[in-house]
Symmetry: D2
Subunit: 433 residues, 4 copies
């Protein structure tokens, strides 16, 4: 259908602090941005609870989605266009997939998904294929266009080159979020020479490759990613907020299941508790809704729900100490018992949390698309896997780094008057780990 080629009479721009401007020339893109499903991403933070550690991290997924779109637009319009390996027919598909790749995210996705067994990738697909404004816009291109967009995002699309633009070890998604999250948090990491990386990207049959003259920019990107993981994404204060959030969701569900009488009916949560969430329910969930309930629940009868919600809303987080993973079992048993002795429910007030990351990997059994190795295009036309050429990437390749923390409510422990002995034992264990 011809509207797929419809250009706006005048280019529209969004002022973007990271890429200066995001440029929109296609009517389809403009219309997708205007749909209510896409506008909903304004009410979901890109970095969940990170704003409680880095106060600047208040930016939304709307922000990031536009950024990923803009990067892909620059790649296809400024770098790939006219190259024989690039199929210009995939242009609009690439742009739509870039823009919509996070469409199914809900509020504080990780915790919600874990506790209520949701899957944002499932909902991305539902929104694209279901009865939505987004689907209506996509259908204007062709009857099978929504399915194609979903396939690219789902990494099942036949043209792996298009998939790799959005899902690989160096894709537009990662390039945007590293820079954007660095910008909004204000950290010094996360910077790399994206201009140079874009300039050396070349389309190949089943992937994007990088001219070897840009190898250092790629190395620098990998190091930035590594630093962002450890400095920002795995920050223990953020993890602490995440732990509390998870416990709130668990507690609310447990109360619901034991027929607790909520002061305020948790209307938006019922289908979550029952694990029967429809698309319509899901689209109503955003961070305003969640925070509204957390605020209300500060007045609930149940002291655990009340306390956890108050901690989250007023940033009275849990403290943490490191632990070695081989002692997790025994630590957990010992501390749980002592907590119970002190009348603190370890189910909600004791948490073991581990993070780990591979800075770069040249193979991995798991999610094949996202973990495929990065290939350099050598002057003689050969493709070499990155770690073969880069001393520094070779050195760190496949090196797993982990961090293990246990979380507990310090001020409750310090308050014990009735349980002085228990308190001393707990503190001794925490200090000794």
């Amino acid at each position: 259908m011809q509207s797929s080629n419809m250009k706006l009479s005048e280019e529209k721009v969004f002022k973007d602090p990271v890429h200066r401007y995001a440029h929109v020339r296609d009517k389809i893109i403009w219309d997708l941005i205007g749909t209510k499903e896409f506008q909903r991403l304004r009410r979901i933070k890109q970095l969940g609870t990170t704003y409680l550690t880095f106060h600047g991290a208040e930016h939304s997924r709307f922000n990031h989605s536009l950024g990923v779109y803009e990067i892909v637009r620059r790649v296809v319009d400024d770098v790939f266009k006219g190259r024989p390996e690039w199929n210009e027919d995939e242009r609009l598909l690439s742009l739509c997939a870039a823009l919509l790749h996070d469409l199914g995210h809900g509020p504080f996705s990780h915790s919600f998904e874990k506790v209520y067994h949701l899957d944002h990738e499932h909902f991305t697909r539902e929104i694209i294929l279901g009865n939505t404004e987004v689907n209506q816009v996509l259908l204007q291109v062709s009857p099978d266009f929504p399915e194609k967009v979903a396939a690219v995002i789902g990494k099942t699309y036949h043209d792996k080159l298009v998939v790799s633009l959005i899902s690989s070890q160096i894709d537009a998604d990662r390039m945007d979020y590293l820079q954007r999250d660095a910008y909004f948090t204000g950290v010094s990491y996360g910077h790399f020479d994206m201009e140079r990386i874009l300039r050396v990207m070349r389309p190949r049959e089943d992937q994007v490759v990088f001219k070897s003259t840009g190898m250092h920019a790629v190395e620098d990107y990998i190091m930035s990613r590594y630093q962002m993981y450890w400095q920002v994404y795995f920050h223990p204060v953020t993890r602490s907020a995440e732990v509390i959030l998870t416990k709130i969701l668990q507690r609310a569900k447990a109360l619901y299941e034991e027929n607790y009488n909520f002061k305020y009916e948790p209307r938006h949560f019922v289908s979550l508790f029952n694990e029967e969430v429809t698309l319509e329910d899901y689209l109503k969930l955003d961070e305003s809704v969640v925070l509204y309930y957390f605020q209300m629940w500060q007045d609930e009868e149940d002291s655990i729900l009340r306390d956890l919600c108050s901690r989250f809303m007023n940033r009275k987080l849990l403290k943490y100490v490191g632990f070695s993973p081989d002692k997790k079992e025994i630590l957990s048993e010992q501390l749980s018992e002592l907590f119970r002795a002190a009348e603190i429910d370890p189910e909600y007030y004791l948490a073991f949390d581990s993070s780990s990351d591979l800075p770069y990997d040249f193979y991995r059994p798991g999610d094949e698309e996202e973990r495929r190795p990065i290939h350099l295009l050598m002057p003689n036309g050969e493709l070499h896997e990155l770690s073969r050429e880069s001393t520094i990437v070779d050195a760190i390749s496949g090196k797993l780094r982990s961090d293990h923390k246990l979380y507990y409510p310090e001020e409750i422990l310090l308050d014990f008057s009735k349980h002085e002995k228990v308190k001393r034992e707990i503190l001794a264990i925490l200090k000794g780990k």
Copy 2:
């Protein structure tokens, strides 16, 4: 009381994208930041509806408040300290007032204040002096300390030098928000050489003055402020969202007053409708709560409330055209009549909005503290009013600039099938203005 001097055993820092770091050495400041009233500012955007125009503008008043604090801290610790005109006893007072100056702001302040006759300055005072965590922390300094902090913020404090740090034509508040709002929106305006301005600030009995060698940095600040007003703060798309917001608040109140039966009881709004808001009610109001109701109201029976809420949530804003203020009366009459003929309620779908700003003023009858002229400290020790020395400030001084727009729902007009003639008349008026 000694705790007023209590220093943290180790300085704490907040990573700030604008000032790099905010440094906290005083226990009182650390404790104030941890209060729930201050944490609440995380749930109130610094720029209200501006994020619907500039998607990066999602930063909160928490962000800004820390920034104002940091600027004042640098002035008193790095620039004023040790100078005979500066009374070191006012240091902690200055820091607290800087940190708390926006404490009483609610969600989307301008619209709420206008429709429900609230006053954020009143609530700032209430939070500082009332039964709150903030008040408890301040009392640790001395019994009259909360009152002093409130007086500085209220501009009634006897030491006008302290007041001028926070409320003047070139105060820490403005210096922070210009830079911060520029950073988050991504616009190129809002930049000026704050380092230089800080370095030339000098304490005088009743005000901060500026060494004349820094005059150009001050000029540049004034121009930045002017640009930010017209580029960002008065942006007509932001004003459009503001108009819709105001109409929602009006409509909800009108429905309440006519005993409309809300599907979902507007619990948090009742005291607003009745104009009997207590401090406790007020502290529960944040943007999550407001957005929660707006989302619920998209399912209300009342078509106006439903439509307005849907417009706000999904960013289907009103269109605008300019108008000349001398024709406002007649335009309003003509269009109202035609709107009614077309079955559109002009009360909610037609709005006249005017913005105006003085880039700099050397006198003004109104709010004396904030509008006092800026004084330069000349090499011979005299004070000269800025516009006397600066050609460029003199040129623009007192020049009022205004902008007038009328807002209307374009897509409703374009849909008229029943009212073709009315539609044509309306469009003719809008085009001809």
Copy 3:
């Protein structure tokens, strides 16, 4: 000739700190950059003596010339291309004129031109049309191409649109140097939203115009220019170095004319002294040569030349005080007499210097091309002169600002033992002005 269209097999880039990269796709441009006349610009500082005030200002005219080229390239390739008002045949001409517009500059142009009656515009023309590598490259395009390039730079070319890209109140030359000089000096001024200005540029028959939606970016550019003039270009310390430089050039010429026997023959200066500079002589002059002589002259017999050169090389500059221009005559007479009484030659040690600038002008009799007013393209297609639409530009338009300083050697004065009375009189005059 077809080589005019010859594209490089692969785009070449220059890493540029201001524009990120300068992109070269045309073989002609690449070859021009490689000529020895263009490479010579590496040995001429963009800001002459400014590095003695702002130590970062060590960048060369080579730097700036590439920047002007890159701006014009972006205008013609990204903004003008495909618009009916733009003649694609003028593309290469525009690029060459942008690149070469400063080709005839010599070392410390202003002083040399003043003392030795040179004219860099004359030499630009000579280099383009004479027996040079540049001329050879340009001839590859067509026999009349060198003349066309010279005409654009000389502002006599028939297509005034092309001329206005390089010579107007808002041209690529100014946009580059404001940003570049700000970057290298490190001052906070000189920033404006060039991206936005480029996006709103539109070609018209005889000039570039600016869509009115970009008016604020244009206003901001004008303010940046104003600030850069007063903060950087007219800085009195820079002027002081300029004064000494001028006096050195005068002294050397005076000595030559009185047949003074130079220890080291001033080979490169002879044709300057005689005002018979050939193109070949001129091309050998660069800052290394000038500084070489200044260093040698520190060992000359003549105490004035020796002292002035030592001052310049070792940055022992003249001090300054302001004066009012109406007293210049009398001050000059009084001080000259007293200097002579103290055995200081006022010819070389007393200087009156005035700077003045118009921030923006909507008309001027003088150099018509560069001073033509800036026009905004209104939504209805009309052109409005900028100050008609901009309150702030209107306010400062045509406002001349001036600064007047007199320079003198403070440490010589303070050293007077023989002339105590004269010294006191001089100091009294300088203080009283």
Copy 4:
């Protein structure tokens, strides 16, 4: 002596693009900056021939020296001051050593030192201890102060903490040059969070250590250094210019030694050729002088000197291909013979150049001070060597990376008409390596 404590009546500042401002409060520092030996550093580029690769790299050693001073000033005044491990008496010594650490550098140091057997460290010492303005200023502090400053710079001073501020794997020198060289070249590498590193620096008896909470900033610094080495400092185009420069110096000396009759007497070079350079001679050498001679020598009779100088001045550099070090011997022999057959002197037109770098090392036999490992200060007070804590530093620690290029004059080879067969053989070898 009391002048050592003399403070300026008002702080002086230098606008610095990298650190915003360099602040000077001590009269000694101010006076040192004003000496002619320090001002001479304005005429020596920080990065030698790098400006021929990155046109922005035109900044001088003056620039960098002020930057190193400013970093040390911030460390001692903002971080170390008041800590028991820090001896406030070493403050001025640290500042002077920082400011003067590069004082003995001459023009294009590396090439000059190699060819003429000079040593800039020797001259730094000579300038500090000899009959100079710098020595006079330092003597105002105390009779042994010049010797102490020289000892710190020479790494023989007893207080190794002071030495480590300026000479270690993470010293003020490196922190300044990485950032400064990144700024002026415009590359994206070279950025790291110096603010954070400064904040975690702690004085210990014999070295500066880093609180382990800042480990990631230190890691990032090490990666930045690695990238700058390979992206900027070892860039093959820069190396090519360096090769030509070295060959010019060799050729001039060889000609002098064979009593060649120079058209222009190489006055400033005679003591270099004879390896009898006095301090006075050395101080007259700067880049203007060198470039002056190179320009003159473009007119010499000797075709090799003439050609090499013309190549350097007009940037007609040598081409390069990689080679494997184990084939260097045989390649050199083969090519030398063929070059001679083609009447090209391989002595001047064939060069083998290798670069290598250790990103970080935890031990090394050589220069002990500069290579001492970096130590982290753990929360329990222990010191741990960096690579023990950092996965990533451990991975790259001690990994030597090398690059090998051979340089040759491509356009001469391509011009061969007489030697077609030789040419083909040479090109075959170069292609095959």
